[in-house]
């Protein structure tokens, strides 16, 4: 492949410009609008005071350190678990993979508040499991709160991301390479470390980057179980949304710091993955093998064990949805009352939960496919910029983006009335798409890195135009990657809250908003029922997808 550094006005040039303009309009303009106040005060003009304040006071700067600690630890654990599981899935034949796959995906979606809250009910100081263990076994479980709790929840919530990515990447490894190693006496963990892992590296890095950033920017979990272990995103959130009068200029400065950190890590990841860029022409993708004996036992124990643990809070949630409740308090006895209430209150939210992510996912897939191709095969300043830009919404707290969108599009762009989309479906669709694009982009980029350019050349030699080659050859070959990312985008859009809670109107209320509303109103039973409905809904959408795509394997 020729690597043309100039920007040319061919199909790719145009696509690049369209995407860039979109990002300027829906990212730089609104977010810049909010963040500019971090450098600007009405009294003094340009100022760095907000930044000085942050770095000079340990009360604030410690949160950054804390965030790094939890994010790095969680990333490492998520990486280990996710990779281990993906490896088992790719290498061995065992029963119930389809079910496990769905459960893994379910584990990655967490209903607002209620999801992490289940952990407290299970593992808290008076949690079901904690009490069980201490009463019957006399075992003292470690505290779910603070550092260890945050890491636990992050790990179990984020490993599915690594799993899905790597599961897709295995499809691009040629079986014979693994066999070559095996023939030379290298098997098991050794082969994994010396051959499999290096080959998966682009994907591993992409996945880990996302996990890290997600852990670094998530505030829901640390807010619920941090108990004084103050993380950076919680700080940003509370400064923006403070009930006691936060300082939004200071909050903007924090967001700027978050973005700078995210971009630096992104660049670092880019540099590192260049070292692992090699393409493969996998005509014989890795196939699974039967296992026997002790090995079989361990395969089952590990895979089912991990997955079961990860969905435990969701299962508990389902359980509580059948419990009788009185407001905030769960009573003894079981009934369908919560469901009765839930259905009566859902309104059109189920429809919205389908409709809004549906439009958004179309945008996501389209953009991701183009952006990843531009970033990998047509790398130049513009495309590299687009690539980096696309990561920003991932790290900008959803609340900030919500506020930015409200402020910037309330009266149209620059108050002109152009794109005055507040309150419409469009604003939700766009915000969903922009925020969840990175999942699909990163996995597509990783997939593309592994595809041998000679396949594209072959298509071109057959007279296929760039566009045609792209859609008929490149995209289908990237499919495992695209789908892995799209599923994550889809799941996270379905359970998106922090932006939609600011942008929704009665007509665009989603199930997640409904759940949150019930939590606020103190109806935990109804919230649990709604969460269960959302979960069922998600499973159905996955099953439908499998049916339509004709694959058992969600990552294709």
């Amino acid at each position: 492949m020729k690597n043309d550094k100039r920007l040319r006005l061919d199909m790719w040039g145009i696509a690049g410009i369209v995407i860039l303009v979109t990002y300027i309009l829906f990212l730089i303009y609104p977010v810049g609008n909010i963040l500019k106040q971090s450098f600007y005060s009405t009294s003094m003009g340009f100022t760095l005071d907000n930044f000085t304040k942050f770095f000079s006071m340990s009360y604030y700067s410690n949160t950054l350190l804390n965030s790094f600690k939890v994010s790095i630890t969680a990333t490492i654990f998520a990486f280990i678990i996710g990779t281990l599981l993906a490896y088992l899935f790719a290498m061995f034949d065992f029963k119930g993979k389809k079910l496990l796959r769905i459960l893994i995906i379910i584990a990655s979606m967490s209903a607002p508040f209620i999801g992490a809250y289940s952990w407290i009910l299970l593992l808290g100081r008076s949690g079901v499991i904690t009490r069980f263990l201490s009463q019957f076994l006399g075992v003292q479980t470690p505290d779910i709160y603070g550092f260890s709790g945050i890491v636990l929840v992050f790990t179990l919530q984020l490993f599915p991301l690594i799993f899905l990515y790597i599961n897709g990447a295995f499809k691009n490894i040629d079986q014979s390479i693994l066999e070559a190693a095996e023939g030379m006496g290298v098997t098991g963990i050794k082969r994994f470390m010396t051959v499999v892992l290096p080959l998966l590296m682009p994907t591993v890095l992409a996945g880990s980057l996302l996990v890290f950033m997600r852990a670094f920017s998530d505030f829901g979990t640390p807010m619920l179980i941090g108990e004084g272990y103050r993380t950076f995103p919680v700080l940003i959130y509370t400064e923006f949304i403070s009930e006691v009068g936060g300082d939004s200029a200071f909050a903007s400065a924090l967001a700027v710091i978050a973005i700078v950190i995210a971009l630096s890590i992104f660049m670092l990841q880019q540099i590192v993955s260049l070292r692992f860029a090699f393409s493969m022409n996998a005509l014989h993708p890795v196939s699974t093998k039967k296992v026997k004996g002790l090995k079989k036992f361990w395969v089952y124990v590990i895979s089912y064990g991990i997955v079961f643990t990860a969905v435990l809070p969701q299962l508990y949630l389902v359980y509580t949805s059948f419990q009788n409740t009185s407001g905030m308090v769960f009573q003894s006895g079981y009934s369908l009352n919560s469901y009765r209430e839930a259905f009566s209150r859902m309104g059109n939210s189920i429809f919205n939960t389908l409709r809004i992510p549906f439009f958004a996912i179309i945008i996501v897939v389209l953009f991701a496919v183009f952006i990843s191709y531009l970033a990998v095969r047509k790398r130049n300043t513009v495309t590299a910029t687009i690539d980096s830009l696309s990561m920003i919404p991932y790290i900008v707290p959803g609340t900030v983006l919500g506020i930015a969108y409200l402020t910037s599009f309330n009266t149209g762009v620059g108050g002109t009335g152009f794109l005055s989309i507040t309150g419409t479906t469009a604003i939700l669709v766009i915000s969903f798409a922009v925020r969840r694009l990175p999942y699909t982009i990163r996995s597509s980029v990783a997939a593309l890195h592994q595809i041998s350019p000679s396949i594209e050349e072959a298509a071109q030699s057959l007279g296929s135009s760039k566009l045609n080659t792209f859609f008929r050859i490149t995209v289908p070959m990237m499919m495992p990657g695209i789908i892995a990312g799209a599923i994550l985008s889809w799941i996270t859009m379905i359970s998106e809250l922090s932006t939609s809670i600011l942008l929704y109107t009665v007509n665009t209320r989603t199930v997640t908003v409904a759940i949150y509303t019930e939590v606020i109103r103190g109806n935990y039973g109804i919230a649990a029922a709604l969460s269960t409905i959302l979960m069922i809904f998600t499973v159905l959408s996955l099953l439908l997808f499998m049916k339509v795509s004709g694959k058992d394997d969600i990552s294709l």
Binding site: N410, T424, V506
Partner: protein
């Protein structure tokens, strides 16, 4: 596209709980034949939303939130004083012209008798008991309004906002809390109700509601005194349904609704000419204190800073 401009609709932003919503909105809809579009979220989120939308507002009414938020965002509201205003207890009347208090909420302690065992908790002072170390749940006064209300309440009760003695108490208390800060108000009472914590620095409405729902908790009105603060509602500046909005304000402080509130919910009415709920201790039996709202509003940031310093100090040793 619906931004509330249709004539028979009223857009309400509210962080309120089930009881308040259920006893007001349906009744209002029925009475006036107006459909209410209710947007619910946390107080912080709603005010951030209002602030962002101020050039082209969507909401007509914001229904809920304490005076601190209102006083910070005066520019968002339309001036309106309800004719019913005069029937409200003098201390809780709409004096600014912008926001109308409709219920009262006191800072209380929530306790879980199972966890507490035989430890006595009747006052703020009791919280300094070393046996409670790490078992007290508190919000973060620098961003949770209920935790901030607790802060001003204990300052007032312990000697005044600028009393060193009072601040010394705060420091002692937070040393005993040992960094176990919840990031949101709701976590505080939930933690106690779930048995995760023994005591929580919370507020009256949810605690009473928990007791009413059968939760295993008790409510403690600190002996040193309880400050009751009003929850308010206001009309948004530039609201498209001004007329209905005004009707709504009148409605929530009408005797009829105040009566419903005080009898069927765990909210204290702002009118005296109504009955009260059995779950809640009658006003007369409580050592009520009064907050100096103007002073607190003005010095809010100082309080927060001072608290932050204390927090850092307790964390660093």
């Amino acid at each position: 596209q619906d931004n509330g401009s249709s004539p028979d609709r009223l857009v309400i932003y509210s962080p309120n709980s089930e009881g308040l919503i259920n006893s007001t909105i349906p009744a209002f809809e029925e009475k006036y034949g107006i459909q209410v579009d209710l947007i619910q979220a946390g107080t912080g989120e709603l005010f951030a939303k209002l602030d962002s939308e101020k050039d082209s507002p969507v909401a007509d009414i914001v229904f809920g939130g304490g005076y601190t938020q209102y006083s910070m965002h005066i520019d968002l509201f339309e001036e309106y004083v309800s004719p019913e205003n005069d029937n409200v207890i003098a201390a809780y009347q709409n004096t600014t012209g912008f926001y109308t208090p409709y219920t009262l909420d006191g800072s209380v302690l929530i306790t879980n008798p199972d966890i507490l065992g035989d430890i006595e908790v009747n006052s703020y002072e009791d919280l300094l008991n070393p046996e409670l170390k790490g078992k007290i749940s508190s919000g973060d006064p620098s961003n949770s309004s209920s935790a901030f209300a607790q802060l001003t309440n204990m300052l007032k009760a312990k000697g005044g906002y600028e009393s060193e003695e009072a601040w010394a108490y705060v420091e002692a208390l937070y040393t005993n809390i040992d960094g176990k800060i919840s990031s949101s108000s709701s976590n505080v009472y939930r933690a106690v109700a779930d048995g995760e914590m023994a005591v929580g620095l919370s507020y009256e409405d949810p605690v009473a509601k928990l007791i009413e729902d059968g939760g295993n908790v008790e409510i403690v009105y600190p002996e040193e005194g309880v400050v009751f603060l009003p929850a308010s509602a206001a009309i948004i500046k530039g609201a498209s349904n001004q007329e209905y909005a005004e009707k709504f304000i009148d409605f929530i402080i009408s005797q009829e609704i105040q009566n419903v509130l005080s009898t069927t919910t765990t909210n204290r009415p702002v009118r005296e000419d109504v009955e009260t709920n059995d779950v809640m201790k009658p006003f007369a039996e409580i050592n009520a204190l009064e907050e100096d709202m103007d002073f607190v509003s003005e010095n809010r940031q100082d309080f927060v800073n001072r608290y932050n310093d204390i927090f850092v100090k307790t964390q660093s040793n």
